[in-house]
């Protein structure tokens, strides 16, 4: 039985990663830490770079919240030092242009420079080869190139803050004509630089996606069938399909917009545009909604790029700390795949009130409503995983439980916007902001914190400080909810987003106090993250030395020493069973059994 299973799998396995010939580990600093082909180094480069950008993106959000709570009041300290520079006027208060810049750049940095590189570049690179029992990814040089393209993309992005009129200020979505005509938009060269940055970051994302697809398809260890892949690797595989098929659309759109801005074409400019009372140059024949279609054809799948890998991370953590197999492995994979399938045909739900044909709105409502089904199936299966478990509450598990809990709220609030009539009212209000922060922060970033604490031993050979991690979890959970839950109330009251101040509107008058409350919650949320920053760097050097398998996990990375050696596996591992055989009969006295533990004579390995 076991023989059969093994021979029935990937024939390419003996060639896992590098075709069997090994180079010695480079000794020079440059080849070891900078231009490294080692997937683990590339993963760590992604991880640390994107965490640094998270501080930048978070800092922008803090300034943003100041302006909303205290409109046109000078920002304490920072505003005083930076009078007349960046986002600040001569009195140290944030200007309306500066506010738009903060909003656009917060979104762009968080999506293109934090979350995607963090969960795909960081976790994907580090874990995929370990999970499938390979020595490296299929194309190690391409992998290094992908990281350095991402790093290169950050140059124009950072540069844009320093050019005349500042960085992009037309929303992270960059809707033309606002982002297109010099006279209409508050930014000039900065926006073009940011578009170039997006272009490069997208290119890096495509390279990563191709690499992961090939790696997972070709480099699985003997016995690692598709049905035995850890769910995180499944999620990364499906995410990689998204990256390869959707990101080129972003490149196309960004190129067209760059052409419009630099070479004065008019892809997105209709005839007869008048800006500031004068006819706009080079307008004619274009169509503003074209950008929205192209952009959301990429950016809606991108939303799933932002969440699918962390669904995988959550699955790994939940099963390990429940000491129980994942409930409904097949249903989990099928729901991931159907999220991908449906994910390509829901982009129009961002455009219900855009002027798109209302019949199309109807069609997009149908697909959008039904994408809630696979997401629901995942939630129910996570709950099924917990049901009957023997749950341990280490910090990764606390974050994973936070992930499910916040994902439920974010998922449910999405149903309102999927319903076109309700969306007429809720569109472009704080309801949307609340919704996607519950998904991208509440779910994704929670899973990221959980994942970092979970795999820290493999990343750095040490454990994170557990009490500090738990304190960080508690404060983040509390202040996250205090920050973002009240935004549902703002949205319900009709408070528009991207508003430098709401003081002009009488119908928003009563919400001023709530906005101050949210701002202070956001500040405490921001401060709580410093615990993580300290814990991360302190544990990296002074944390408790980690054992091989501190959490008693089953997947292949837990058979390796901590930290993982160069080329990962001395001997290519052979896989005998599924990744989640916790508490099975075969495990005997302990409640776990590694995927590569040979079967006990006389006992059939579980067929999963």
């Amino acid at each position: 039985m076991s023989e059969q299973t093994i021979s029935g799998t990937t024939a390419e396995a003996p060639h896992a990663g590098g075709g069997g010939h090994h180079h010695p580990q480079p000794t020079s600093f440059f080849r070891r830490y900078v231009w490294s082909y080692d997937h683990k180094v590339v993963g760590k480069q992604y991880l640390i770079t994107s965490l640094c950008f998270m501080l930048l993106g978070g800092g922008l959000a803090m300034l943003l919240r100041w302006q909303i709570a205290y409109p046109f009041v000078p920002v304490p300290f920072i505003g005083h030092w930076l009078k007349g520079m960046f986002f600040f006027g001569n009195n140290g208060a944030i200007t309306p242009e500066g506010y738009l810049e903060l909003g656009a750049m917060h979104g762009l940095v968080m999506i293109f420079f934090v979350v995607i590189p963090l969960i795909v570049g960081g976790f994907g690179n580090f874990l995929i080869p370990l999970h499938i029992g390979a020595e490296d990814v299929s194309f190690p040089m391409l992998n290094a190139l992908s990281y350095w393209l991402y790093a290169a993309a950050s140059v124009p992005m950072l540069l844009s803050f320093f050019v005349d009129k500042g960085a992009a200020a037309a929303g992270w979505t960059n809707y033309p004509p606002l982002s297109d005509i010099a006279g209409a938009s508050p930014s000039s060269l900065g926006l073009t630089l940011v578009l170039v940055a997006i272009y490069l970051a997208g290119f890096s994302s495509i390279l990563g996606g191709v690499n992961f697809l090939v790696t997972i398809a070709k480099l699985r260890a003997p016995g690692m069938t598709w049905g035995r892949l850890p769910l995180l690797t499944w999620a990364q595989f499906i995410t990689a399909v998204f990256q390869c098929l959707a990101t080129p659309m972003l490149a196309a759109g960004a190129s067209m917009l760059i052409f419009d801005r630099v070479f004065h074409t008019s892809f997105f400019l209709p005839s007869g545009l008048m800006v500031g009372g004068a006819a706009a140059a080079n307008s004619g024949g274009g169509y503003p909604l074209l950008w929205q279609h192209i952009f959301w054809f990429y950016a809606h799948p991108a939303v799933y790029i932002l969440i699918l890998p962390t669904m995988g991370i959550a699955s790994e953590i939940l099963t390990t700390f429940s000491r129980k197999p994942v409930f409904g492995y097949k249903a989990m994979v099928i729901s991931l795949a159907s999220i991908m399938g449906l994910g390509f045909i829901v982009w129009g739900h961002h455009m219900f009130v855009s002027g798109m044909n209302p019949m199309l709105g109807m069609a997009f409502m149908v697909s959008t409503i039904f994408i809630a089904l696979p997401s629901g199936v995942k939630v129910f299966n996570w709950l099924g995983t917990l049901w009957g478990g023997n749950i341990r509450f280490d910090s990764p598990m606390l974050f994973a439980l936070g992930f499910i809990s916040m994902f439920i709220i974010g998922g449910l609030s999405g149903i309102f916007m999927a319903s076109t009539p309700a969306d007429i009212y809720l569109h472009d209000t704080y309801y949307i902001i609340a919704h996607f922060h519950y998904i991208v922060f509440g779910a994704t970033i929670f899973a990221v914190f959980g994942g970092i604490s979970f795999w820290f031993p493999k990343f750095f050979g040490r454990m994170m400080n557990e009490p500090l991690a738990k304190l960080h979890w508690l404060l983040t959970l509390v202040f996250f909810n205090l920050t973002f839950f009240p935004m549902h109330f703002l949205g319900e009251a009709g408070h528009m987003r991207r508003l430098a101040t709401s003081t002009d509107y009488e119908f928003l008058n009563s919400l001023a106090g709530l906005n101050v409350f949210i701002t202070w919650s956001a500040y405490y949320l921001g401060l709580s993250q410093l615990i993580f920053v300290f814990n991360f760097f302190h544990s990296m050097f002074y944390g408790k030395k980690a054992t091989e398998n501190p959490w008693q996990g089953n997947t292949l990375e837990w058979t390796l020493p901590s930290p993982v050696p160069y080329y990962n596996f001395d001997v290519p591992p052979v896989v005998y069973r599924g990744p989640y055989e916790y508490s099975s009969e075969e495990a005997g006295d302990k409640d776990w059994i590694s995927q590569s533990t040979p079967p006990v004579p006389g006992m059939t390995p579980a067929k999963h």
């Binding site: 242009e97 109807m362 129910f380 209000t429 119908f507 508490s583």
Partner: protein, 342 residues
């Protein structure tokens, strides 16, 4: 399960009932002045009820698991790989619930955006957005747009109460979004594209001078109250320490008589005899349109049919330059839209 827990569940369900019944003024929802707006609120609250039930179910299960299946010495987790019956059940039941939401939403969407009312029998107003103003145009007495008798306004939309208004929206420069919160209407204004919304406002906005608070009243109620149409100013709001602002109306300086409408007749009375002031609704821009986006505010003045007709006749002329600029922008983008109304 303890009695207290059951009592808590029962209390939460009862707290939701007014929401399910579609009570006005639920939560943070602002007042509503159209029937279609009420239907949107009702749909919103129906979804809210369903969502809260799903929330309690799932988060409750989560807390239950965390509590009852926490690690204890000598216990082993169940080795269970799944259950196909469960998978089918929790796919089909949510599918039915979502199908129900879809049914409600699609029929309302059809009414709001697909079944267009006839332009012949209803009032048509054109709206041309620009950075950072709302321009409106009425066809004037001849019923044809683009003729010299057109009536134009900036940032002020006048409409008669209890009548369907069709708004044709476009933009001169960038994308804006016409947002009329009390009517629950939102529609992007896209340059090069003509979008259309329709609504019938059945509540008029007035300001109660005794309480210094806004109120929404029906035409019948309006006819029975002494409403000053002019002669009062909205004072600069007083900002409280907590950031909230107190608005108040006061008679304009030096004014002795104000026009007060009662039972459709206008009489001149001393300002202290007016009980209410006509108080327009707000419209906002909901799509980022540039640095002045936050200040792109307009107003909707809802009038009785007689007042509206009267206003159309006496509305100030904004001059030939304004008219020409409008025509240039509108015609160059929409030559086909400017055909006379049949």
């Amino acid at each position: 399960m303890s009695k207290r827990f059951l009592r808590f569940c029962a209390a939460s369900v009862f707290a939701l009932l007014p929401g399910l019944a579609g009570a006005e003024g639920f939560g943070f929802l602002p007042p509503v002045c159209t029937q279609s707006g009420r239907q949107i609120d009702h749909l919103y609250l129906t979804i809210f009820g369903i969502v809260v039930a799903l929330f309690v179910l799932t988060e409750g299960t989560l807390l239950f698991c965390v509590f009852f299946f926490r690690q204890r010495k000598g216990r082993k987790a169940w080795s269970m790989h799944g259950n196909n019956v469960a998978e089918v059940v929790w796919t089909i039941i949510p599918a039915l619930i979502l199908g129900y939401i879809l049914y409600l939403s699609s029929s309302l969407w059809t009414k709001l955006r697909i079944d267009e009312p006839s332009e012949k029998s209803n009032l048509v107003v054109e709206c041309l957005a620009e950075q950072f103003d709302w321009n409106f145009r009425y066809p004037g007495p001849d019923g044809v747009f683009g003729t010299p008798d057109d009536v134009m306004t900036v940032n002020e939309l006048h409409i008669p109460v209890d009548r369907t208004v069709i708004l044709k929206i476009s933009s001169k420069d960038v994308i804006h979004s016409f947002f009329f919160p009390y009517a629950r209407v939102k529609q992007d204004a896209v340059p090069g594209l003509l979008t259309k919304v329709w609504f019938d406002v059945d509540r008029m906005g007035v300001w109660n001078l005794a309480t210094q608070k806004p109120e929404l009243v029906t035409l019948d109620q309006y006819n029975g109250m002494k409403v000053a149409l002019d002669g009062f100013d909205l004072k600069d709001p007083v900002v409280n320490p907590d950031g909230l602002r107190d608005y108040s109306y006061a008679p304009s300086a030096g004014i002795k008589q104000v026009p007060v409408e009662l039972d459709g007749k206008i009489t001149q009375l001393p300002p202290d005899q007016a009980a209410y002031v006509a108080h327009p609704y707000e419209i906002a821009c909901a799509q980022l349109c540039g640095p002045g986006h936050f200040a792109m505010e307009g107003h909707v003045v809802v009038q009785t049919q007689a007042d509206f007709d009267n206003w159309l006749k006496t509305a100030p002329d904004l001059g030939p330059t304004f008219r020409q600029k409008w025509n240039e922008a509108w015609d160059s983008q929409h030559p086909e839209f400017n055909k006379p109304n049949p």
